[in-house]
Symmetry: C2
Subunit: 239 residues, 2 copies
Amino acid sequence: MLTIGQLANYAGVTIKAIRHYHERGLLAEPDRDSSGYRRYTAEHAVKLVKIRTLAHAGVPLARVKDLLDADPDTLAAAIAEIDNDLQDRIAQLRRTRDQLAELHGGDRLFVSPQVADYLDDLRELGVSERAIRVERDGWILMQTASPEDACLWITEKRELMTNPEFRALYLDHDAAYDWSPDDPRLPALADRTRNWFAKHHSRSETQPVHNPTIARLAAQSQPGASSPAWDRLARLMEG
Amino acid sequence: MLTIGQLANYAGVTIKAIRHYHERGLLAEPDRDSSGYRRYTAEHAVKLVKIRTLAHAGVPLARVKDLLDADPDTLAAAIAEIDNDLQDRIAQLRRTRDQLAELHGGDRLFVSPQVADYLDDLRELGVSERAIRVERDGWILMQTASPEDACLWITEKRELMTNPEFRALYLDHDAAYDWSPDDPRLPALADRTRNWFAKHHSRSETQPVHNPTIARLAAQSQPGASSPAWDRLARLMEG
DNA sequence: CTTGACCTTGCCCCAGGGTCAAGCTTCGAC
DNA sequence: GTCGAAGCTTGACCCTGGGGCAAGGTCAAG
């Protein structure tokens, strides 16, 4: 004749849980002693361990209730299924562990591996952290809106980045962010940019999306994503 | 500018969860568009992925909130701790898998390995399933009331079972369950049992606990745990 | 101009955990 | 043998982290 605490201790379960199982009708309420305490038998213990095992495996209590008096074949099938589920959950937890480790560091949690590699390339190239952040946020938006397109675009863009002329243009744009709007280098830069577009626009019609302009566009919502020099540059290129 | 659905899809999280994070103050409510829809930026996406990673790792949302703007050192320490926790949970799930497998079969889930071995011995000896069940339930009660004592007792009892005379006595008691109360073999069995006790009582004072009598005692609450023949046997031994 | 997909708020459900005030029991100390 | 403190049990109520469902508004495409 066990008290609820002894039973709970035996089964590795809290008193709260046992009372919960009573409420759900999973475990029969035992007789009470003279003072109103519940007094349990070995049969309760056996049933409770079964309930605990299934419940710890994540089986909903309603289903546990059914399984407790299912025939052996049904039970075996259910156990197999539950075990699969358990394996999946273990795998999922492992993945979560990996992601947790990446939480500490870079951007790999937020963008696809290709984009992450691209951002690393930019970093190595000496691009400013500000620009890298703007790029990252742009790619997040693109990936979210259309992962397939983003995948195509990033491939193209990484190819584009192998072109020394484009790389130089990109770095100059990046540097120009901090220039004065009256800087004498701005008109020349606007010219070079326009020439570049003229030369390459014909080759691929989807290309216009992958230049600093799109990044600026995507970043318009962010405060401080543009600068006086960039504004001037935009006017120079339009006019 | 993302809708809540796009954002949820990107982060691998449900819409419900995102709204929940808003309610808890984990993720800032974004501006709404003209129709009242929430419109998210890349910054929301970044923050949401962090929240998701921690939440999936089982961190309470209140703590996630604190961690989101903790300094790197605090964060690193917290991540290490959370990771340990994750490892523990994975180990726990593995254990649950093992237990699940045993749910199908014998009694190993309910009693200690020693007791389970002992029950197997009984089975091999040809003891009835009824008696084995009564023994099992008795051991469950003993283990629950006092695991250390139960451990000592089972060791003693298994030793006792190596004695051929005791084994015979045990089997005869088991068989006697089904006899008629007028069976002529009962008085002799009562005699042999008394003799056995007389011979062994002196050796160990804790011994009386480990004989069929205790099993009967423990099982009194169970319906059908005694029989007319056993009742007669009890009277014969008393008188 | 309708249809299907999407978004809004609100409310209930799950599987317990925390906490509380009361009453019960058990143990050692007197 | 009895007294008090410590520990156990009782039910009740609120909290968590969302999932499900309802009922209504919105959007884009045919």
